[in-house]
Amino acid sequence: MHALELSGVTKTFTMHLQGGLRLPVLRDVSFSVAPGQCVALTGPSGTGKSSILKLIYGNYRCDEGHILVRQGETAVDIAAVPPRQILSVRQNALGYVTQFLRAVPRVSALDIVAEPLVMKAVPREDATARAAAMLKRFNVPERLWSLPPATFSGGEQQRINLARGLLPEHPVLLLDEPTASLDANNRAVVIDIVRERKRQGAAIVAIVHDDEVREAISDTNVDVTKFAVAA
């Protein structure tokens, strides 16, 4: 059984403020990811790579097709289930890491990283300890842990976001440019953790522009150009 399977996924945006302009973006997206496998989406900017990740996460609504995510012994079709069940899949089975941190006022970096575990009912002490270990791994200085990250540098914010997204060990993981503004050290940390997650059986879909990083983590490339609808 695949950990993730897309079949016939189609997405068109209708822009009502531009007189109902229809923007077809993706047509018949079909691919699957096995546990422990990393698929890299490739293709030039604007072909819809990020849109595919957003469709899988349920952030964009799917017009046609199926997006099956394995949760335990069953497969949930993200394209068909009610919002409440998508939340449940996100909490238990599906992680999504972007390069941008959506900072919440007044919440410390440590709590932001620990939050997904707390939501999964991991005891707070345990969650905090694991969050601390993750921040350490990403070389975030300890003096920053208790501060809200709104004022941190771009690279620091990105590392906090990565720590948060990679901590819960979800069986399906979506990575959108995880190494975009990281230095070589921290890029190596990301590569390490992604390989670790693969050994644990996670299925990963990644968008990585850095060739070196992509070669280090991906098993298969899927060229998104073939799904893109020519504008």
């Binding site: 009502h16 952030n59 939340l87």
Partner: protein, 262 residues
């Protein structure tokens, strides 16, 4: 929030409508709300969102449709089949209602401690020291200094009044809380503090909430799900990030595109 299989909804709205004479307040609203879920209702002034909130909280009777509420004993009650005293008891204990203007949700001439303690007395607390202790505890949770416990809300700032109103509502550990533009009249720094407080408390206590707001940032920060209203009707629903990032209806697209970037 967490998810249990086969869980029953806490609140069910079935085809709720309200007419004021011939004028439509709200038409055919249906949804389910589960324990610990936060739903935002957004839309411009006059879209029917406040009418919907008043309907759901039993303050006005629907012209059509019904509201089912799962009581603590697990039985589903039709809100308007309950006796008036029972409905009022629910409102004072199991539910909370946070008004946009704290003056409407507080007793302005009564001390802060008294404002919080009053809800406890409504559920049978009698011991003065216990009531004062619980009130002090809740003032601390909403970051009001204990030294201000005997002052009346008249002497409080707008932000403090709103936090006091929240403490008053939450002290009875309600399962459902209604909020009408909770950050409405507050300036931005005070808003952020209040939002963070609400977010934390609601998730720790697993309270279900329905938040009426015209501020999409508030909806994004607080809610899991969103309902967009226009001219008395619900026009779009879904996960909050879904509706805000991939809005389908023309009016929702207009709302989302009208936000000024910070």
């Amino acid at each position: 929030m967490s998810f249990a299989e086969n869980e029953q909804p806490l609140l069910v709205a079935e085809s709720l409508s309200k007419y004021y004479g011939h004028r439509l307040g709200c038409r055919d609203a249906s949804f389910e709300l589960y324990e610990g879920e936060v739903m935002a209702v957004v839309g411009e002034s006059g879209s029917g969102k406040s009418t919907l909130l008043q309907l759901l909280s039993g303050q006005i009777e629907p012209s059509a449709g019904r509201i089912l509420y799962r009581m603590r004993d697990g039985a589903n009650a039709d809100l308007w089949s309950l006796s008036e005293p029972m409905r009022r008891f629910l409102f004072r204990t199991d539910w909370g209602y946070v008004h946009q203007d704290p003056q409407h949700g507080l007793r302005m001439g009564v001390s802060a401690g008294g404002n919080v303690g009053e809800r406890l007395m409504a559920v049978g607390w009698r011991n003065y020291a216990d009531i004062r202790g619980a009130a002090a505890d809740w003032l601390a949770r909403v970051e009001i200094p204990e030294a201000r416990i005997d002052d009346t809300p008249r002497t409080y700032s707008g932000g403090m009044r709103q936090r006091l109103q929240i403490a008053r509502n939450l002290v009875t550990a309600p399962r459902l809380i209604f909020m009408d533009e909770p950050t409405g009249g507050l300036d931005v720094s005070v808003q952020a503090r209040l939002l963070d407080l609400l977010r934390r408390i609601v998730s720790e206590m697993r309270i279900a909430a329905i938040v009426v707001t015209h501020d999409l940032a508030v909806a994004r920060l607080l809610s899991n799900r969103i309902m967009v209203m226009k001219s008395g009707a619900v026009i779009e629903t879904g996960l909050t990030d879904q509706v805000l990032d991939d809005p389908h209806e023309p009016y929702t697209q207009l709302l989302v595109s009208s936000i000024l970037p910070a």
